[in-house]
């Protein structure tokens, strides 16, 4: 196990009982949700989601708009809390830490769970400063090390060769696909264990999309990737496991090949064959 406490507090209590991943019984994941429900004000967005997300793999969330997949994704790094009037029940574990436990530091949590958004959101700063943004605030002060981290992150995001001669130029001048890969590099520079991606390719052309998909397959060797997508071909292409959400409920989760070829639930079948949604 990692030797670093998420909360920095040594609380002598037994390791909370972890739920097992739905679909593959007995397989614990790096991320585990246990009867997790979520409300925006009075409106319930998630109903008792229980699932395990395996480490070092790609899990795709699919489902029609408003089905709760993004809400669940944003619950994993607690970004939903920024919206006033939200509340939750149930638990989500990252590794063995209950991320909603009292005393959990969201800053530490978010360092470990990087996020890439639907619409690239590079800061209006130089390419270098964008990538260095995370490590800098998280305690990396050494110039040479920072250079190293930036280069490493850009390489892992398959962007280094395209930008190495213009690191000091503004990130806003890059193309859409490049900006999205810069956002991935920015997330990777923090060395997260989890990468949360909210429809990262929906605003990109097929070639840029393909590059990012190749990148994801490359990246899953070192981290756990959760990707929300509206594109079922994409889910089928890149993911190891797929979870189907519908109206705030997790209908089915399983190995991608199985889920797409022989779904257990009628609703899943209807959705993936295009009969609704």
């Amino acid at each position: 196990m990692s030797g670093v406490s998420l909360t920095e507090q040594v609380v002598r209590e037994p390791i909370p009982e972890r739920p097992t991943g739905v679909g593959v019984p007995g397989t614990p994941g790096l991320i585990d949700a246990s009867a997790f429900s979520f409300w925006y004000g009075k409106k319930q967005a998630l109903y008792e989601i229980t699932m395990g997300i395996q480490a070092r793999s790609i899990t795709a969330f699919i489902g029609p708009s408003g089905c709760g997949k993004s809400t669940f994704l944003r619950s994993i790094n607690r970004l939903n809390e920024l919206i006033p009037g939200t509340r939750h029940e149930g638990k989500i574990f990252l590794d063995d830490a209950d991320i909603y436990a009292r005393g959990t530091d969201v800053v530490a949590l978010r360092q470990r769970t990087g996020m890439v958004f639907q619409r690239w959101n590079c800061f209006p700063k130089s390419i270098y400063e964008n990538v260095a943004f995370g490590p800098r605030i998280n305690g990396e002060t050494d110039r040479a090390k920072l250079d190293e981290v930036v280069e490493g992150a850009l390489r892992r995001a398959a962007l280094w060769d395209e930008v190495k001669d213009r690191l000091r130029e503004s990130a806003i001048g890059l193309s859409g696909g490049q900006q999205q890969r810069l956002c991935i590099a920015r997330a990777l520079a923090n060395d997260p264990e989890v990468l949360l991606m909210d429809e990262p390719c929906s605003a990109l052309d097929p070639i840029a999309t393909q590059r990012i998909e190749e990148l994801l397959v490359e990246l899953k060797r070192e981290l756990t990737i959760v990707i929300v997508t509206h594109n079922m071909q994409q889910a089928a292409r890149v993911s190891d496991r797929t979870a189907f959400f519908f109206m705030g409920r997790l209908i089915e989760i399983g190995n991608t090949a199985e889920l797409f070829t022989s779904p257990r639930e009628a609703q899943t079948e209807a959705y993936i064959t295009g009969r609704f949604g």
């Binding site: 990692s2 670093v4 920095e8 390791i15 063995d96 990396e140």
Partner: protein
């Protein structure tokens, strides 16, 4: 045992035993997490200090308002009575009477001023925002900023020069025009800001349906920005309602009730000024009460502005 603390060997679950190397955070990930953890304590302290400083600034920012309201309440509340709202001033030396004429006058002058100034200001703001690249827009934007910074008494001089002098007498009209002249640049700028916030995609949607630029601006753009514009306009009206200087040699003031726009008219700020510098105890008392009424009036307008924004926002999100 804390989450993420080292787990005793015996408690390793099957998953860890089977697949331990692959699923554990890499050395680099552990280092990054450790580095973050080291900085957390300091960052929490800095965060707490900064948040407290900001909260302190917020408190200090409202202290003047709290003091004013407190002072006005203490000195003005005791002088407020029904007569204050229903009666006109008594002649000098007589105790009693009220400021009904000034309240009416303020409502009239501000109402007419707003009726003149708001359409011009909103129209100008819409033009400046929608045709932002034209020379006229650049010039108007610059001049509106200059006008916004102009001392309000200059607006009074403007109205005096163009209305009072040619016509040969002071009038409510002149006061209203002076206030409108103050209102126009304020409304122009807030309208522009609000219209600029309207997403370009919305304009394109209307234009793609065959709407002309002006029709798009008046229906789609203006409609979308309405809540913000109304708020901005009401805040501007609240500001001019308290102005004294532009009315000094336009509306002039009046000890009697007048409902004619062509004659000098009383206004709360003028009456407060006149009473406050007078030597009479009873007038001082009434000046306090007048100030209290004026601040209540401004507060009401602000509350209406908030309510208007709120209801529109709610309606918009449905």
């Amino acid at each position: 045992m804390s989450p993420l603390q080292t787990v005793p060997a015996g408690s390793l679950n099957a998953h860890d035993a089977r697949d331990a190397r692959e699923t554990r955070p890499s050395a680099r990930q552990r280092n990054a997490a450790a580095r973050t953890a080291r900085t957390l304590r300091r960052r929490r302290v800095v965060n707490a200090i900064m948040v407290s400083l900001l909260a302190l600034s917020a408190v200090i920012a409202v202290i003047p308002l709290v003091l004013i309201v407190y002072h006005l309440g203490r000195s003005g509340l005791s002088s407020l009575n029904v007569a204050f709202f229903t009666q006109d001033p008594k002649s000098v030396g007589e105790v009693g009477g009220g400021m009904a004429n000034a309240i009416l006058g303020t409502l009239m002058v501000v109402g007419v001023g707003a009726a003149i100034g708001m359409p011009i200001g909103i129209g100008a703001g819409l033009y400046v925002a929608e045709r932002r690249a034209t020379k006229l827009a650049t010039v108007v934007r610059f001049l509106a900023d200059v006008l916004n910074g102009l001392p309000s008494i200059v607006m009074g001089i403007f109205a005096w020069e163009f209305l009072v002098r040619p016509l040969g007498h002071f009038s409510a009209w002149a006061g209203a025009v002076a206030l409108a002249a103050m209102l126009v640049p304020m409304v122009t700028r807030t309208t522009e800001e609000m219209v600029r916030l309207v997403p370009q995609s919305l304009r394109e949607a209307a234009l793609a349906l065959g709407y002309s630029r002006s029709r798009t601006a008046l229906t789609v753009v203006l409609r979308t920005a309405t809540a913000g514009i109304v708020t901005g306009a009401l805040v501007a009206i609240a500001r001019i309602a308290g102005e004294t200087a532009p009315l000094l040699f336009t509306a002039l003031g009046n000890q009697f009730r007048s409902t004619s726009l062509n004659k000098p008219i009383a206004a709360l700020p003028l009456q407060i000024f006149q009473y406050a510098v007078s030597p009479y105890e009873d007038w001082h008392r009434q000046a306090w009460a007048g100030a209290l009424v004026l601040i209540a009036l401004v507060l009401t307008i602000s509350l209406v502005a908030r309510a208007a924004t709120q209801s529109r926002v709610d309606a918009g999100s449905e």
